[in-house]
């Protein structure tokens, strides 16, 4: 089954925010933002801008009817800056005009004076100045100090990883339409319809039922529209409220790059202790997270870094400290992996360093320490149904890793100008929101009298195929053709109090809710069919491929006339269902608990070729065994694995975000910020799904897929690093990620 949404994509008929037909009289909004990274606003003069013909309003903080506050977790984020600005790109005013061009022209006429304050862009600098989002968070188990004393080798080091721009191809945007007195409908490109609804209601000072949020689809999001889609939607809504006219606000690429946050850069210190045989006994790590100017989701991201500090390995003594540092950059935010990749990158770096000192192959240390059932994660969750060893061994065998290693060595012996490197990258990623209350979802299923089905859930379609998966679940339960099923837009009037489509869990939770709702309807239909077919209590009714069976025999009833008859007999053909992931819990006082419904595992083997003269490289192949459980749709899941992998490779290799000391984004356009193109994706990606993996926690034994495979991309960094070491065996390298050609050449030649 293929993604039905794709048919319209291919014809160019799918609508994104910028494509919606606009109601008559729709106005266009442009943001006036801060040009300095930190300072007090001394004066703001909007009068000239207002006088420009075609301008309807210039809205500032003063015009906000209720609260100027949109912070999600911590209330530290204004919609529009009032007295002080904290990063370049921080919104100060909304210019609303007849056209985008006029609004842009008017924005240039706004006059502002600042008193500049000190700018911090480095997280360690922020820490030294006690500029923190929250107090440091510490997770620990065992006793690292005692354990280090027992170790044969203790290694310390520091390593940094960089930011990453989401680069969803569709930029941020929303359209707000006053529907009638006291109600506004927002069409938003958001992963969090309820967050938009809630914040809009708060800013406007109206009840949530006066705001309707509708999300048809997103042109990519990757976490970038989880928290950071809200501001634009609320701004358009505010303008619509003030002017009582429809207002469209779509960011240009340039504005989007400048104003929105990225994946958090981290600077980390580690200390790892091992025995001679490669067994890791103790691991201590401090993460300095660059949160940017406000909290956004930083604390939750940091927490997930702590959850994934030990990746796929069992380590008895661990102490991990997470420090969320407040800097004068745009607020960094959710990005596929949500802090997990940053944590895993550090432990992998530590293992690589330890391996060279112990004289062991990196892969031997990795394999020796893989998680097995009944190990405990250091935050207390007991490992169940571990696929860490299975996926590693299956990768070794299916891809003949011995041969790959031999070939690599052989190549390196024969070549001087080019060197190859190989890496193993095991992953282990927990599924569930770590804020346990978010692990809830609902579905509303209608069967119409012609037998067609409409489903609404909390899940937002953004290319990940969640609609198809939900339809698959419904098709499976109702035993009807998927063509009969339509998954509707995500709308707060149909499904309320939604959790964001995030944490890879939307298909799991909304799929389960859909499963429950469909089962409710199915049971009603079966009960009714018994009556309609004059069956007895002990007879068994089933619906198979749109036919109603009585004790496995076909009857005169098929799906369509069953529905018709049920309707005339006043059987409810709709059901609403709720799903809450069972048993997940985490105590933030002790930082212990069992926050995940289950874990996703896998292993990637990556090979890279380095051009020793030029300092450039190519990822030759990535071969992956990925634990998908029983795939709900192999086409969709394969696409998720491949896409996440390349996004991870981009983060580790070419995607480089740089800010000037004044906090100005230097990679501020697609001409300077490069994401993988068709040529920089690995020449050969081979993905096989792990055999015999089952999972009772997700619909039909499936497993979540959105985020975990991104972390295979970390393998690219280490494959390149191995190639560099092969070119310069006697040098010691500390190269921060991304490992750009510049850093490679300086390592080789500098």
């Amino acid at each position: 089954m293929k993604n039905f949404d794709a048919i319209n994509h291919l014809k160019g008929k799918s609508l994104y925010i910028d494509d919606f037909p606009l109601p008559e009289g729709t106005l266009h909004a442009v943001i006036f933002d801060s040009k300095i990274a930190h300072g007090k606003i001394l004066s703001l003069n909007i009068e000239k801008a207002k006088l420009i013909e075609g301008v309807y309003a210039v809205i500032t903080a003063k015009d906000i009817p209720n609260e100027n506050q949109i912070g999600g977790i911590i209330l530290d984020e204004t919609l529009l800056a009032e007295n002080e600005v904290h990063f370049i790109g921080e919104p100060i005013a909304i210019v609303v005009a007849k056209s985008v061009q006029i609004a842009r022209k008017a924005a240039k006429e706004i006059e502002i004076e600042f008193h500049k304050l000190e700018v911090i862009i480095d997280p360690r600098d922020a820490f030294a100045k006690n500029s923190l989002i929250v107090s440091p968070i510490i997770f620990s188990s065992g006793n690292v100090n005692e354990a280090f004393k027992e170790c044969d080798l203790v290694v310390e080091g520091s390593i940094d990883s960089g930011a990453q721009e989401h680069l969803y191809l569709e930029t941020q945007g929303a359209i707000s339409i006053p529907v009638e007195e006291n109600k506004i409908k927002i069409i938003s490109s958001t992963q969090s319809p309820t967050a938009v609804q809630k914040q809009a209601a708060k800013v406007l000072g109206v009840a949530m039922h006066q705001i309707e949020v509708d999300v048809l689809r997103l042109g990519g999001a990757f976490g970038g529209k989880e928290d950071q889609a809200t501001a634009w939607a609320v701004m358009s809504c505010l303008a619509a409220k003030i002017l009582n006219k429809p207002v469209k606000l779509v960011l240009s690429r340039e504005d989007d790059l400048r104003m929105t946050g990225k994946r958090h850069p981290y600077s980390s210190d580690y200390k790892i202790g091992l025995m001679k045989n490669g067994k890791i006994i103790a691991y201590e790590v401090t993460f300095y997270q660059n949160a940017g100017a406000v909290a956004d989701l930083s604390t939750a991201v940091l927490e997930r870094t702590l959850f994934h500090t030990t990746n796929s390995y069992f380590i008895p003594n661990v102490k991990a400290t997470g420090i969320s540092c407040k800097t004068n950059l745009p607020p960094n935010t959710a990005f596929r992996g949500f802090g997990g990749p940053q944590g895993m990158f550090v432990i992998e770096s530590a293992i690589v360093k330890a391996a060279s000192l112990l004289g062991l192959p990196v892969s031997e240390i990795q394999k020796t320490n893989l998680l097995v059932d009944n190990n405990s994660f250091y935050y207390g969750q007991v490992v169940k149904n571990s696929q860490a060893v299975n996926s590693w061994v299956e990768a070794e065998e299916k891809f003949n890793s011995k041969l790959i290693i031999e070939e690599t060595q052989d190549f390196n012996n024969k070549n001087k100008l080019y060197k190859k490197g190989i890496s193993f990258m095991p992953i282990c990623f927990g599924i569930s929101f770590t804020s346990s209350f978010l692990n809830q979802a609902s579905a509303l299923v209608h069967v119409y009298t012609d037998g067609s089905v409409g489903i609404s859930t909390a899940a937002v379609e953004m290319g990940q195929g969640v609609n198809l998966k939900i339809a698959s679940v419904a098709s499976n339960i109702l035993s009807i053709n998927v063509d009969k099923i339509r998954v509707e837009s995500t709308n707060t009037t149909r499904v309320a109090n939604t959790s964001p489509t995030a944490a890879s869990s939307a298909a799991d939770m909304n799929g389960n809710a859909t499963l429950i709702a469909c089962t409710t309807i199915l049971n009603r239909l079966k009960d009714f069919a018994k009556i309609a077919l004059s069956a007895t209590e002990n007879d068994v009714i089933t619906i198979v491929d749109e036919s109603v069976l009585l004790n496995n025999q076909k009857t005169e009833l098929d799906w369509k006339n069953l529905i018709q008859k049920a309707y005339f007999n006043r059987i409810s053909l709709s059901a609403q269902a709720f799903y809450a992931t069972p048993e997940v819990h985490f105590d933030r006082k002790t930082n212990q608990g069992s926050p995940f419904a289950y874990h996703v595992y896998g292993t990637a083997i990556t090979t890279a070729t380095l051009d020793v003269i030029r300092g450039t490289y190519k990822i030759d192949s990535v071969k992956i065994i990925h634990d998908i459980g029983e795939s709900l749709n192999t086409n969709v899941d394969l696409g998720q694995v491949e896409g996440a992998l390349v996004q991870g490779i981009g983060w580790m290799t070419m995607e480089e975000i740089k800010y000037s000391d004044e906090g100005k984004l230097l990679a501020n356009a697609l001409s300077t910020y490069k994401i993988p193109d068709i040529y920089s994706a690995p020449e050969n990606i081979e993905v096989q799904f792990l055999e015999n993996s089952k999972n009772a926690s997700a619909p039909l034994n499936s497993k979540a897929v959105g985020e975990p495979p991104l972390m295979y991309g970390i393998g690219a960094y280490f494959a390149i690093l191995e190639a560099i070491k092969s070119a310069k065996p006697n040098k010691d390298f500390i190269i921060s990620a991304p490992i750009t050609p510049e850093k490679v050449l300086i390592a080789l030649q500098g």
Binding site: I7, H9, G12, V646, I746
Partner: protein, 472 residues
């Protein structure tokens, strides 16, 4: 500046009075309401806005992909513009290309998808013999953030296999593709309609601000171009690559892609297409002109490095008064040219290389393709028994202007090529450059990189004379 334009958009004849500097993207989306063409970046770096441009070239209808965000509508006069809506099957089925994309899951969020379909369709129309790596090159200007390209590559392979199996003739390719539902039926009439439309290009007065491809101008100043007097250089005379005496002459409106495919150029520079693949992307190369790249005077321009090493001359034309300037003397300072007001670059010419001449171009950027170089360099070197008779070495990204490395070239002349010589010249190279740190790399990096790329020239061109150990 409004002018009357006539062209064909999909199956529709368009006649409008319009500002010729308006981008084709805005016209398609806002004036025509065709929303399948997406805006992703407005600087030709994502390909979401890719459309096809059909025109009669040498009495034959030809199609090429272009980035509509950087294409002034004035240049559409007399042409056929094809958007995704114009490729869709008239009976609402998927075309075979769309079908393969669907089968392989090559469309996830879908925002980039119409651009890919356009690029690949353009490739299929224009090439009788399909090859995967060429098809890949045709879609390499399209960025996808979702798929990691694996499914797109599979779909592309399937499309090629499908067409190979159909045995579509090259004779009337458009008809064959219409018969096999790759294109809707109206394509059969386009050639005729374009002929009737005639050479409906704008009558240009080339003394006004001349826009070549516009692929950088529309990134830098699209808004202000709307208020300027402009003209376009797509003038027949300037659109030729020819041999003139002992020289090869490239007209001022010749695009990079024309150079890449020119039999004349390929005869003397058989590897030029590999070098030119490193320039931008196909849709950009289809629009961008060599002359535009030279006059743009970016210190890191790819064409400038290449043509400096060819020791090129420029013919400048001011109201038909012509003068010749050496490219190596054309740049006076950062973006400061030996070019008078009203004067335009009519022709670039360089000597036909003799059989003892070798040429190489090197470029390193963060991303190998569709990226601006950190450093680039080109070399043309004539030798006799390992003795350098003449050499022209250029470098980009290491100075305020595209640099001809004069001292280094002089130093190398009349010397025997060996490892020591190459290592020695690097000192002179370093004394000629003054790189600055910017987003494309630190000054330190650019210095190291240029040395490495000069080594690479010699390793590549004279492998038997160079001791690789000492180069690493």
């Amino acid at each position: 500046m409004d002018q009357k334009l006539e062209f064909i958009l999909n199956n529709k004849s368009v006649s409008v009075e319009i500002n010729v500097a308006k981008t084709l993207l805005d016209f398609i989306r806002n004036d025509e309401g065709l929303k399948g063409t997406k805006e992703g970046c407005r600087e030709g770096d994502c390909g979401a806005c890719t459309v096809l441009l059909g025109e009669i070239v040498n009495n034959k209808l030809k199609y090429k992909s272009i980035n509509s965000c950087l294409f002034p509508i004035g240049k559409a006069a007399g042409k056929h513009i094809v958007t995704i809506e114009g490729l869709n099957d008239e009976n609402n089925y998927l075309t075979p290309i769309q079908k393969e994309f669907n089968e392989e899951g090559a469309s996830q969020c879908g925002f980039c998808t119409p651009g890919f379909v356009n690029s690949l369709t353009g490739y299929v129309i224009e090439n009788n013999k399909l090859e995967f790596h060429k098809a890949e090159n045709a879609i390499a200007g399209n960025i996808c953030r979702c798929t990691g390209y694996a499914s797109i590559k599979r779909a592309t392979e399937n499309v090629i296999e499908k067409i190979d199996n159909l045995n579509i003739s090259g004779f009337d390719r458009i008809k064959s593709l219409v018969d096999e539902n790759f294109l809707p039926k109206y394509f059969l009439e386009i050639e005729k309609r374009l002929v009737i439309l005639g050479k409906n290009e704008l009558n240009d007065n080339l003394s006004k601000n001349i826009i070549g491809g516009g692929t950088d101008l529309f990134v830098q100043k699209a808004e202000s171009l709307l208020t300027e007097e402009i003209s376009f250089s797509n003038n027949g005379k300037l659109n030729e690559i020819k041999v003139c005496g002992n020289n090869i002459c490239i007209g001022g409106s010749v695009t990079i892609e024309q150079v890449k495919n020119s039999p004349i150029i390929l005869k003397y520079f058989p590897t030029i297409d590999l070098h030119l693949n490193l320039f931008a992307s196909l849709p950009i190369r289809n629009s961008a002109t060599i002359a535009g790249n030279i006059v743009n005077a970016s210190p890191i321009g790819d064409s400038t490095a290449l043509f400096l090493a060819l020791n090129s001359n420029l013919t400048l034309n001011l109201l038909e008064n012509k003068r010749i300037v050496k490219l190596s003397e054309f740049y006076k300072g950062y973006k400061n040219l030996d070019l008078q007001k009203g004067e335009f670059l009519e022709e670039i010419s360089f000597e036909i290389p003799n059989p003892n001449t070798k040429f190489n171009f090197e470029k390193v950027s963060k991303r190998t393709y569709l990226d601006i170089a950190s450093v680039n360099t080109a070399i043309k070197i004539e030798t006799e028994n390992n003795l350098i008779k003449s050499v022209f070495l250029s470098a980009g990204g290491v100075s305020p202007i595209p640099l001809f490395l004069k001292n280094s070239s002089n130093f190398l002349t009349n010397k025997i090529i060996n490892t020591e010589l190459v290592l020695e010249v690097l000192n002179i190279v370093q004394s000629e450059i003054s790189p600055i740190s910017d987003i494309r790399g630190s000054a330190e990096y650019k210095r190291i990189l240029l040395n490495q790329l000069i080594k690479a020239h010699f390793i590549k061109l004279f492998p038997e004379l160079i001791n690789v150990e000492e180069m690493i």
